[in-house]
Symmetry: C2
Subunit: 394 residues, 2 copies
């Protein structure tokens, strides 16, 4: 089986798994315990936090370990309930983009039910948010803006730096702090960025997207931000995220993040070439639609080479996924987190004004760090034969 669904989850790094499991046996103490085993475990937790902070180019106290990207995103959206829901007398405004992951978008819709003014900013046809549209929506009631870094369906890299700058400008005008949250799950370890220079207040990352364990993620909270988090309990994670720390998970995230950062440039260069080869050959298949359409023309720097979305209008995406699987190729129709949803499965494409029948016939091809030229060529030769066959019978 050739795996082209790295955006859903990555093939784990076996060496790091072995290292982490050995650590799990040795550093088994509860890091909140004051005795020797507790202190030993705490040391590994501190070390993991330092490694991750270093990778993100932030301070260790700005890194909170969570159970994953979904929890990190939910913490931010629902911390509003703890912060301000019952205080201010005015209707608070939250700005989200229409292409967010469900773990940002669905909490935002829930805030709307709670009488927050939730403004949804849609992307252009290229799947890209225009920073000025966010800036225009900001007013004195705005408490939070969220925009993801790399879209998990199209791979479109969002203009975080520019958006952050406009938010900081708006703050000066309104005289109020506006939190800027970035879901960096598909960006971390894959495209280069330094959190501390992005004008971002909070950001989410996940371990299992970069070779690490499932059930671990992190939340960056810029150190001048004081958040009153909703979930309560023990004073772990500097009183911000209660619960006995998942030390093995934290260590896994730290090691995989470090490795991904060290190899990022080489992998990116390699994957850009693979993606170029993939796009160029796929262009030759009759009827293919790139999503966005300019994907095969535009500057590749505007997209992550780890995600490609294409459609073959006559062929339902799910059929193509199954047919490719029969030939030994694993791709997906789109986001795994949305795969079970009946409504909103194709929200990201809808917001780019992609017609429903195109969205229904789309697949996501997502290479990863272990993907080879041979894998790509196998995929291409199978698709080149399979697509015309399917087009004939559909």
């Amino acid at each position: 089986m050739i795996y082209f669904d790295w955006a859903a989850t990555s093939v784990p790094d076996s060496e790091i798994i072995d290292k982490v499991r050995e650590a799990e046996k040795i550093y088994f103490g509860n890091p909140s315990s004051i005795h020797a085993e507790g202190r030993k475990a705490k040391k590994l937790l501190i070390q993991s936090r330092e490694i991750l902070a270093d990778t993100l180019n932030v301070h260790p106290e700005e890194v909170i370990f969570t159970s994953g990207g979904t929890e990190s995103n939910n913490i931010i959206l629902f911390s509003l309930l703890a912060r301000s829901a019952w205080k201010g007398t005015y209707k608070k405004k939250v700005i989200v983009t229409g292409i967010e992951h469900p773990s940002v978008y669905d909490p935002a819709l829930f805030l709307q039910k709670l009488e927050y003014d939730v403004v949804i900013i849609n992307p252009d046809q290229e799947g890209r948010i225009i920073p000025e549209k966010i800036a225009e929506a900001i007013d004195a009631r705005t408490v939070l803006v969220t925009c993801m870094y790399v879209n998990n369906e199209t791979g479109a890299i969002q203009p975080i730096m520019e958006t952050g700058k406009l938010i900081r400008d708006a703050e000066k005008k309104t005289g109020r702090k506006i939190l800027f949250h970035v879901d960096a799950v598909q960006a971390f370890g894959k495209i280069p960025f330094s959190l501390s220079s992005l004008n971002v207040d909070t950001a989410s990352i996940s371990g299992h997207k970069i070779g690490g364990s499932k059930g671990i993620g992190a939340l960056y909270v810029q150190k001048d931000i004081s958040y009153d988090f909703l979930y309560k309990g023990g004073d772990q994670e500097d009183k911000r995220r209660p619960g006995t720390e998942n030390i093995a998970g934290a260590y896994s995230l730290a090691l995989n993040g470090k490795k991904a950062a060290a190899l990022l440039d080489d992998r990116l260069t390699k994957t850009r070439l693979l993606m170029k080869r993939l796009i160029s050959s796929l262009s030759g298949i009759k009827g293919i639609v790139f999503l966005p359409q300019s994907r095969n023309k535009e500057n590749q720097d505007l997209f992550s080479p780890y995600i490609l979305k294409v459609a073959f209008p006559e062929i339902p995406g799910e059929v193509l996924v199954r047919m490719l699987e029969e030939k030994g190729i694993l791709v997906s129709t789109g986001s795994a987190c949305s795969s079970q949803k009946k409504k909103g499965k194709h929200r990201v494409l809808e917001r780019m004004n992609v017609p429903a029948h195109i969205a229904e016939s789309s697949i996501r091809i997502s290479p990863g760090c272990l993907t080879t030229e041979e894998d790509v060529d196998t995929l291409l030769s199978i698709m080149a034969r399979l697509i015309p066959e399917l087009q004939k019978i559909m």
Copy 2:
């Protein structure tokens, strides 16, 4: 080092760690993916859920995997926000006990700030909740009652069955559903119970207390209960707990739970004998105070033999913990989750009317499944020498 802090976290089961590690490499897919790797991973998740459900004597669809006991407890308390906070016009009542873990107690205090009527029921001097006191507090506005199963400080087993029965009676009177939540973290795998026969609606358990990994837990939700959970995102865990599932963690919890259940009776018998030996010998140390005082007299069935709380009034608990550590014995002052708290560190003892100076000089001795008679005798001989020495110089 002899480890007597199993209530904080357990020594992990190395064999299961190895088994889980191999599974993590093989079943790496995202269980929400529809392709072969996704289905393979989902199969292990389903199997883990079935094993755990079988151990708890409940249906698989009643088991939700979470990141731990703290999250499970928080989900229940804060699901109220999603359920009813903005709906009913009357002030809703939540009843909690004064001896709950911080992950129940602190969310309850937060609900109080949000204008919930939060009633706190304190235990008797034995550290035990009187079911009738809970029943008396119930009225037509009551939406939730929570009571832990085994107290994490004293080991006192709470009358869950009786409390549940009274709550079911009260429901008949008020004509409204009252949710009964039980934090079973210190009970699961240690004392025998069947969730389905306890009149309980929801219950929390944790993996790392029974030899499993940190960062995994579960929430039992009785199948007739419809909860609108707060955190949103993907449709994982039957739309109740979003986020890519921690399959390795779920498998770890399932395997450790199954093993603990299989060995529960033997371990319980063995540990009851060890605890009897421990209590009987400790009684000989001048000045010792058992918490509760009747612990050395009363029927042992009222306490978990895995937790013992004692105090030596002249000796600060933290000093004793460090002195014992120097002699190779690891005990704790109390709950690890409360160890960093400045306020409320001794809340459980306070609620039992234990004087502050006694609480300050208390330690928790918590044996586990690997604890031997020799370990207990070593602890006893060290304490028999150390305590009088310390009493002299204090």
